[in-house]
Symmetry: C2
Subunit: 201 residues, 2 copies
DNA sequence: GTCTATAACTCGATAGAC
DNA sequence: GTCTATCGAGTTATAGAC
């Protein structure tokens, strides 16, 4: 119980790194142990099994992946500003966690039922809140008539996909790391601008 | 050499199915054998190793993933129609191969250098052709001034991402398979409409 | 060409000393 | 708490009969 906290934290941090990069199927307990500077036995001492360790990481990744949007949605600001705020904030988070989307979506695709059963309980839907907001704006005549589902997916896609397709896009465009970073920096305003350009009256 | 072609085809077809769903790390030779209705030994008889079999599938998947766009890009039709055609055609292809994007992007992310070395040689860039086209339209004053890289990623994102995020989106929105199918059907025109709405003068 | 049996190896997990 | 050593299950790959 001496170095308990310290080691446990190091394991979680290492596990996070390895699982993010390799996924559940590709990750090796040995990799995690190496990354943490300990041996495999210790992993099992702190977390009984690979699956338990994985679930810890996955759960905390999910929480990050789903933005706490209530603040932005319910704010007393114009609709367009909400879009700007959301895209800016979400892109900034993804910049800090570039492997998050592929990791999460991969695991969800791998076992949708397990995910639904275990992690989807009582989760209030970001989508439904957004759709409600869009419908209000449409009926108020503030924006062009658009289908909320498409607008939602468009926005999410343009934020998330660049990180999923990053290596391939970098090859296609010839960008290096720095240029890509700048590219994302631009998107923090460009994505919202693009959306608003399409739906404003 | 009797059933050669037949069996070989069945193996490739089964391997494709399994690799698409599970990825290289998650796929098992046993699964592929079962799917093909043969035993593991036969897999190694036709394809010496799992890796060789995987590369066959991966290479043919890549060819599908990168649309042969020359026909659309070089066609003698207005720019907006090119966008409409591309989005419609690409979404239709993805509808037939819904697991293709996650599979390909996952494996590329897993080993970018290996991918670049082995599969990226002499590949003419879809992106560069598109960027050239956009620049022409902008300087001709046909569309608003937009950054080609952002426009390109926006278009690709909105086509591909719905398939990557499908299970999660279905949970969020409460859609069933049929509704999702209809949703994609709509996007074949909606995506282009959304883009054009944003860049037309 | 196709099968069964098994070798060779990887990896998660545990036993047991310290 | 931490380590070394090792077990046992699962997986790729091969040997050899038919």
């Amino acid at each position: 119980m001496e170095k308990n906290d310290n080691t446990q934290e190091r394991i979680l941090s290492s596990a996070r790194k390895v699982f993010m990069l390799k996924g559940m199927a590709g990750a090796r307990m040995q990799d995690i142990a190496d990354e943490a500077g300990i041996n495999k036995a210790m992993l099992h001492y702190y977390f009984r099994s690979k699956e338990i360790l994985f679930e810890m990481i996955f759960e905390q990744s999910l929480a990050q992946f789903f933005p706490r949007i209530t603040g932005i949605i319910d704010a007393e600001i114009p609709f367009f500003e909400k879009i700007e705020n959301f895209c800016g904030a979400y892109l900034a988070m993804l910049q800090q966690n570039p492997y998050l989307p592929l990791f999460v979506l991969n695991e969800v695709n791998q076992q949708p039922d397990y995910f639904k059963e275990k992690f989807w309980k009582n989760k209030d839907s970001l989508f439904l809140k957004f759709a409600e907001l869009v419908d209000t704006e449409v009926t108020s005549g503030n924006i062009k008539p658009v289908k909320p589902a498409h607008l939602f997916i468009n926005m999410i896609s343009m934020c998330i996909f660049p990180f999923i397709g990053k290596p391939m896009f970098m090859m296609s465009s010839g960008m290096d790391e720095l240029q890509f970073r700048y590219f994302i920096e631009q998107r923090k305003t460009e994505v919202a601008k693009f959306i608003i350009g399409s739906i404003k009256k």
